[in-house]
């Protein structure tokens, strides 16, 4: 059960089979029927979306679609990305009633491309989690089977695409937060090269690793949305001055790499089978190389040290002084303590405490420095691998989706990102595509990883695999 893609909707609009308003009404109807159980959104912006749909020029022509590639398309935006005039809560009580005063750069770009924002998708609080269970509102259900989590932190973004609550959506990926839920929900998810997409207007969790990514039903839609949102932004000093004209241009590819460690890890047998299946497809086209990634464990440790350190500082602004939850106290100190104690959930507090300790003078930031060294080592290693092969293939998640409450130990949960962290920590792009379908309806997510700015390669490969699997 997959829903219409962008191209299918545009064909229907151009041929006059449906109007933009009818399209949005259909989506809203589906949302209304399922949302009380599914909870893919924190807020559905139906009314404004319908109003926008009414403004879409008529009739829709090929030229209009070329100029505004997302005209009439309903888009879901993760709730840690600012959309002016609507709440941006990051699924946290501390921002429960916070209304955005500005559009994130990516949102402005989507609006300019004709995209219609249909809702703010649910997530783990401040993107800290892998199941949407840390959302202060409610967890999102996996549309494939509602007993299962959709993954996270961009669980709402992945589930909303899968459930047909929007055509495409934006998520954010710090260590795997786009790719893991996309794989759990059987959709395509991209984490772009660090700096390709502006972070301006996305609530920072770990500034040096956060990237906004795209989620869609097929490879082309995910890359089309990435084309729209990518590009240099003078408002984000870490954005890179590189402009892609067409990410979907075919690329010459000869060699791919696989990771030796995979055979030594305990991987779900279905995931392993699908991984082998993809390798078989690739072998028909390219030469294979074997590589050791090394330091997978160290990558995870380094990731958590860097992410928690930066998070402890990035979340300091939520103090109740200027916006958001504000609980008064006898002194400003007491007001801070009360506001932050009541405003943040357990996982967020755990990370703030860890991060604060890691940066403290008591340990002279030694963990942080070591983590930065590890980050450099992992990047060097991947650079070296990508100097001989053009991309790597690796499962997205070791396991298939888990049920609610099944992973209670935070460390257990942290392993969800085990295979998505290396490319995140190296600032490299990776796309996950759904492969196969088991007896429960779940697909295995398989990642294609490449060096920095290899999005075109990733598209070509993902497209090839997608085609072979049809």
């Amino acid at each position: 059960m997959t829903h219409q893609t962008k191209n299918e909707i545009h064909n229907s609009l151009i041929q006059g089979e449906q109007t933009p308003v009818e399209i949005i009404e259909e989506y809203l109807k589906r949302i209304e029927a399922q949302e009380s159980e599914m909870h893919t959104f924190i807020e559905v912006t139906g009314e404004s979306c319908l109003n926008e749909a009414k403004q879409v020029p008529k009739p829709i022509t090929k030229e209009i679609v070329e100029d505004t590639p997302f005209v009439g398309i309903p888009v879901g935006i993760k709730d840690n990305i600012n959309v002016k005039g609507f709440k941006t809560t990051a699924a946290s009580k501390i921002l429960e009633n916070h209304i955005s005063v500005y559009d994130a750069t990516v949102v402005r770009k989507i609006k300019n491309a004709g995209g219609l924002i249909i809702g703010k998708t649910n997530m783990d609080e401040f993107a800290m989690g892998s199941s949407t269970e840390t959302s202060c509102f409610y967890p999102t259900k996996n549309p494939i089977n509602t007993k299962y989590t959709p993954g996270g932190s961009s669980g709402g973004s992945a589930a909303s695409v899968r459930a047909g609550h929007c055509t495409v959506s934006l998520g954010s990926d710090t260590g795997g937060s786009v790719r893991q839920p996309a794989s759990f929900c059987g959709v395509v998810g991209i984490r772009p090269t660090y700096g390709l997409v502006s972070r301006y207007g996305m609530l920072s969790f770990c500034s040096s690793l956060d990237q906004i990514g795209t989620i869609a039903n097929d490879v082309d839609d995910a890359f089309s949305l990435l084309e729209v949102i990518s590009g240099y932004d003078p408002k984000d000093s870490t954005s890179v001055n590189i402009e892609y004209q067409d990410l979907k241009e075919p690329e010459e590819i000869s060699t791919f790499g696989i990771c030796n460690e995979i055979e030594k890890l305990y991987i779900d047998p279905f995931v392993h089978d699908m991984y082998k299946k993809v390798i078989a497809i690739l072998l028909k086209n390219f030469k294979k190389e074997n590589h050791w990634l090394d330091n997978l464990d160290k990558a995870m440790a380094a990731y958590h040290i860097i992410a928690d350190s930066e998070a402890s500082s990035n979340l300091a602004r939520y103090d109740g002084v200027r916006y958001g939850l504000q609980i008064s106290g006898e002194s400003s100190q007491e007001a801070y303590i009360k506001t932050r104690t009541q405003g943040f959930g357990a996982e967020v507090k755990r990370r703030i405490l860890l991060g604060t300790y890691i940066l403290s003078e008591e340990i002279e930031g030694s963990y942080y420095k070591q983590a930065l060294c590890a980050k450099e080592k992992i990047t060097e290693k991947l650079d070296q691998i990508f100097s001989s092969c053009q991309f790597m293939v690796i499962p997205t998640s070791l396991k298939l989706p888990f049920k609610f409450g099944e992973r209670n130990d935070p460390l257990d949960m942290y392993y969800s990102d085990y295979l998505t962290i290396p490319s995140a920590i190296a600032g490299m792009p990776s796309v996950t595509i759904p492969v196969g379908c088991n007896e429960n309806g779940f697909s295995a997510g398989i990642q294609i990883m490449g060096p920095k700015f290899s999005e075109k390669v990733l598209h070509s490969v993902a497209k090839l695999i997608e085609g072979e699997l049809k």
């Binding site: 408002k235 000093s237 870490t238 930066e310 402890s312 500082s313 979340l315 602004r317 002084v321 003078e361």
Partner: protein
Amino acid sequence: MRQPVIGLEIHIQLLTKTKMFCRCKASFGDEPNTNICPVCMGYPGALPVPNKEAIKMGITLGLAINGEVQCVSDFSRKNYFYPDMPKGYQITQDSIPLIKNGHISVSDEIVKLERIHIEEDSAKMLHEPGTDKTLINFNRAGVPLLEIVTLPCLKTAKTANIFLEKLKQIITYTGISTGKMEEGALRCDVNISLTNPDGSLGQKIEVKNLNSFKAVAKSIEYEIERQNKVLDAGGKIIPETRSWDESKSETFIMRIKDGKADYRFFPEPDLKSLFVTQEMIDEARKNMSELPGQAVERLIKTHNLSEYDASLITSSKEILHYYDLCMKDFQDPKLLANWISSEILKIMNKNNCYINEVGIKPMQLTELLSLILKGTISGKIAKDVLLVVIETGKNPSEIVKEKGLLQVSDTDSLRKIVSEVLEENKNELERYKNGEQKLFGLFMGQCMKKTKGKGNPKMLQTILKELLRDA
């Protein structure tokens, strides 16, 4: 004998058009909370973008104090919670500052600088009088600052004072800040310790809330005495931050430093390292305005001023600028310098104002001085005219004409007046002839009185001498 060891930490607010990390106007005097945006208010998702103008100003100051401009420096976060700090951290520079080293000569001493770095200002908190409320004005949040840190190498309050004067001269000459301490554009914290008997540094005390150079000097003197007394009595200096109480002229405890404050510095991940190219340095050097030392040299070499006059004229950029404007259509630098350093400075001190607030335009002053040079009025009359110019705003020649102050330079009438004076003072004339030479002054005074001060003194003198000789 314990030696005082003093270090200074100075913050200066830069005169950039916009704030350090957003494009809000950097003028915090406007209606409160009007120059704000998601970035300087620390709103969710907002990101900083460095202000190039501020970086240029940092480079300029670095060059002016002979510092080493770092090609790569780092932005860092200093984490702490305070209502005036919107993000919960201040973006500053920690491990590598924009400028390393440098020095400023103070009389015959050299004050060495450790570093100059860029950072952002906090918001301003105002306690609403009569209530327990505190208001926050975020117009100041994010205004660019340069922090200048000296080595602990100063030994006296006097050196600290002159150093601050010199530094203020440099920052106003280069135009990077107003340097007005009363407006918070220049802030200075002092670190003072006394050496131990073995020569090592004793416990350091930090003094804050100093609102004038005088307060800096007085607090240093006070602390040296206080610390000596404590140690003489066998006590210990406790690590603490003290504040200056202007009314009592003493420092008092602000807070005890139990353990060092932990700011959890780490590299600012929202910004890349700060890169300074050779072109940027060359450009800053090319655009560098004349520095105080260079101005002194120019006035001595090309205008033949004394060192004293030159340093008085260059003591502030405004005075030098005024002087230079005057010199555009005036040929007697010595006379001009004399007038500025005596008459004009007198009025500035009396009214506690800047030179542009004295009330006489450069054109008017040179006109006045030209009247003296041409012999139209005497120097004494000119001083009166100056006051009238200030009072009425009228031009000097107009005033001279209106009040009939034209100097009498007509030989016949002057000769007549001198004869009259000698006629009226026969006794004195007799005494003069008998050798009482000092009576010459008395005759001169009488002559001036008779001409109501308008008589050309030089001519009167000549005529008087002549008539006395002939008498």
